[in-house]
Symmetry: C2
Subunit: 456 residues, 2 copies
């Protein structure tokens, strides 16, 4: 009976295991997980830490016993220490430091990512936290519960930083968010990032952008964060949310090739350069469907898709990862900010001839109560008319996330911007406009593309 | 200067006028409208009648003066009486019965639809209303305001019937809704229609299905509605919401061909059989993208799209109507019910080999507060795996409408059900699941399609 071994018990690893079981009821499947929390939704940690979720156990996508009920063996609190591709074995140690070798026929590496440690002095201070694993979450939760900190500085204005700023506000804390770039949420263009910063400010968060944080030092019971331009903020707690890097050391030591970002090189079958070894999730590169090349873009939704492909192929199947579109969404208080595809600068770098327009419109007919403004940026190729990307910011009641997904579906299919207006989208006055906001934006883009635009 | 004449001031007509102006700044454009309310959103009437919208003037998509500012002449309260294709003129009369002939170079017919009058005795009773035009709306509104009726019977459980049942409840009225078919909202399959009926009941509406209404008679100050199976209900007001039929008599009298449903025959350029005459909106047939044939499916969103194509072509352009997918959505109290594409029976009739599965899943991670159940029915072709249609019912906070539009975009592009899982859709725990509900449903369908399913 062939043995599929999976290193990593998070999204990619468990997706691989479940899919392998679906396509091949006969194979033996073992998942080696470093902690005791397989298949937990680490994306949900900010909501537990903010008090919106009462019990951390609810963060489990599914219970360990449900996974085991599928005939998947879980080796929890086992750390993989070495892969021997020649021998097709993996050496693992348990919590008692007992070592053993496990043979595999196929191996899926899903070791994930670890927090990037920016060049800031004092990252080891007590009261400074990273947030990546359940264990990180427990440490921060204990500190919040036991120390009842009144204030926090969040370093980094990406998804985790934004969600944790909101979480701290939910706990009644005073929050300062400091960001290196001129705007927060730099995965969106600055005009949209500014709307997110406004939303934070409206809820009492002090937002400071364009600051290089240099040091974190304890002073009179506080942590003081200092940075460029005289930035200086003291708080009871500091969260460093400065991104992640792939955890690919184990793979690299075994001769598995890594790329520019240190992530494991894979093809669309999620195969590495080493026979019988697959990789998926935040430790691996991601095929980008529009760029037609590999990037590093660690996201939970992608980890699920890649894991599914890796698991299917490692179990003898023939699956292909169709590629990421870079789709991302975050809720910040009452605002939702989302993007898919390429932004103007990214498209330009990739050799497209991009045109980007920003449109302000409404989620539904304004005569019906509760209409919300939508801010949409749409990027298309001037030469071919092809849709390249879209960004959207609006109220959480405005169906921003799934409206953005209409753009994602259009991108997936290589549609032109003009063709968006041809799709028969759903309309009723409380939920949409006869031309949906997506189409309103597309029509503005098409008008701007006209060669005589601006000539008079 | 070529003259584009448009008969009809609602969605199709005004869309045609606006698009003609965009593509051809030089042409003369005249819109003949029978009433004084050009470009009003008649889809919004139930919300005004229910009191959710205070001022009927807000129902205007745009003001008459804004249309005229585009260089479009509006002849309001002018009724077209005859079209002479040989002479290329249209005879119109104004409110004072003054007649005149207007020449055209191209003509767009957008005369819309009128209420179907089912074979029910007593449709002329005072206190019985149809709802189709602004004028109908005013009549009903006057009655509601002046008579303060305490109860209503709504005949017909389609979109208008459902929305008006809700509107009457908003006014504090006792409502009985009676439907000919065994379930309400028969554009969806019965298990989903039943959820809509439940929602009505939860809000105090008495729902009676499977009844052929036979007569409406005044009795002691009430209207009594009687029907098959001993149905008998008295109320102060009756709304007949029993569908519409195309208003194509003017066109037919001029030799414009109509089809099976009495609607004007058109091609994808929105041309009729008569040279220089186009038609669009509820008076015309609609090309169905999946059936690859023409159907009668009068919807506001379609009228906008058809009108735009007709206007562009009538002004010298080269546009093509890409076809309807039959996408429809309605909000009923806190529930949203939507569909796109073909249902099982429709697909079967069209020669497909359909398989339909119903899936119950969640709009977002259940650990995050406010997760809502989504009921999704997905229909695909067993032979080819192609997606044929989807239906969805869920809470109004669950992004049902735009989530359904992901299916619509997939249908537009001829995707397989399996490929839905390849789309990089947006994910964040408060708004979605790592595999979006759309993909969860798709994966269940793919499992059910397996040939060995059920063999053991």
């Amino acid at each position: 009976m062939p043995h599929l071994l999976i290193i990593g018990g998070s999204d990619a690893g468990i997706s691989a295991a479940l899919r392998a079981r679906e396509v091949n009821p006969a194979c033996e499947i073992t998942v080696v997980a470093a902690d005791r929390y397989p298949n937990y939704s680490i994306c949900g940690l900010p909501f537990w830490l903010g008090g919106e979720i009462a019990d951390w156990r609810d963060l489990a996508h599914r219970k360990a016993r449900d996974i085991e009920a599928q005939g998947i063996q879980l080796l929890l609190e086992h750390t993989a220490q070495a892969i021997d591709p020649a021998d097709k074995t993996v050496t693992v140690v348990d919590v008692d430091r007992r070592s053993r070798r496990i043979s595999y026929d196929t191996l899926v590496i899903g070791t994930g990512a670890v927090p990037a440690r920016p060049p800031i002095r004092g990252l080891e201070q007590q009261g400074l936290f990273f947030l990546r694993t359940m264990t990180d979450g427990f440490a921060l939760h204990d500190y919040l519960e036991m120390q009842s900190p009144a204030s926090a500085v969040v370093v980094g204005g990406g998804y985790i930083g934004l969600e944790m700023a909101e979480a701290f506000v939910h706990r009644g804390m005073q929050v300062t968010l400091v960001e290196y770039f001129p705007s927060v949420l730099t995965t969106l263009d600055p005009p949209l990032g500014a709307l997110v910063a406004d939303e934070l400010s409206r809820h009492g968060v002090t937002v400071v952008t364009g600051v290089t944080v240099e040091a974190i030092e304890p002073q009179r019971g506080k942590l003081v964060v200092t940075g460029s331009g005289g930035f200086h903020a003291g708080a009871d707690l500091v969260l460093a949310a400065t991104g992640v890097r792939p955890d690919a050391g184990l793979a690299a030591a075994a001769g598995v090739e890594t790329g520019r970002w240190g992530a494991i090189r894979v093809n669309q079958a999620m195969e590495t350069n080493v026979p019988y070894i697959y990789a998926a999730g935040d430790c691996a590169e991601t095929y980008h469907r529009l760029l037609e090349q590999y990037v590093y873009l660690p996201l939970g939704s992608t980890a699920h898709k890649q894991g599914r492909v890796a698991g299917e192929n490692a179990a003898g199947g023939q699956a292909t990862f169709a590629g990421t579109l870079g789709t991302q969404v975050v809720k910040v208080f009452d605002l939702v900010a989302a993007r898919t595809g390429l932004r103007d600068t990214e498209a330009h770098q990739a050799g497209f001839d991009p045109l980007t327009v920003q449109v302000e419109t409404w989620d539904h007919k304004t005569y019906y109560p509760g209409a919300q403004r939508l801010h949409i940026r749409i990027t298309g190729d001037r030469r071919t008319g092809r849709l390249l990307g879209a960004q959207m910011v609006g109220h959480r009641a405005a169906e921003v996330s799934k409206r953005l997904d209409v753009f994602a579906a259009a991108l997936f299919n290589g549609m032109t911007v003009a063709a968006l207006s041809d799709i028969d989208l759903s309309y009723t006055p409380p939920l949409s406009t006869p031309w949906d906001a997506v189409q309103v934006a597309a029509q503005v883009w098409v008008e701007h593309r006209k060669p005589d635009r601006g000539s008079g």
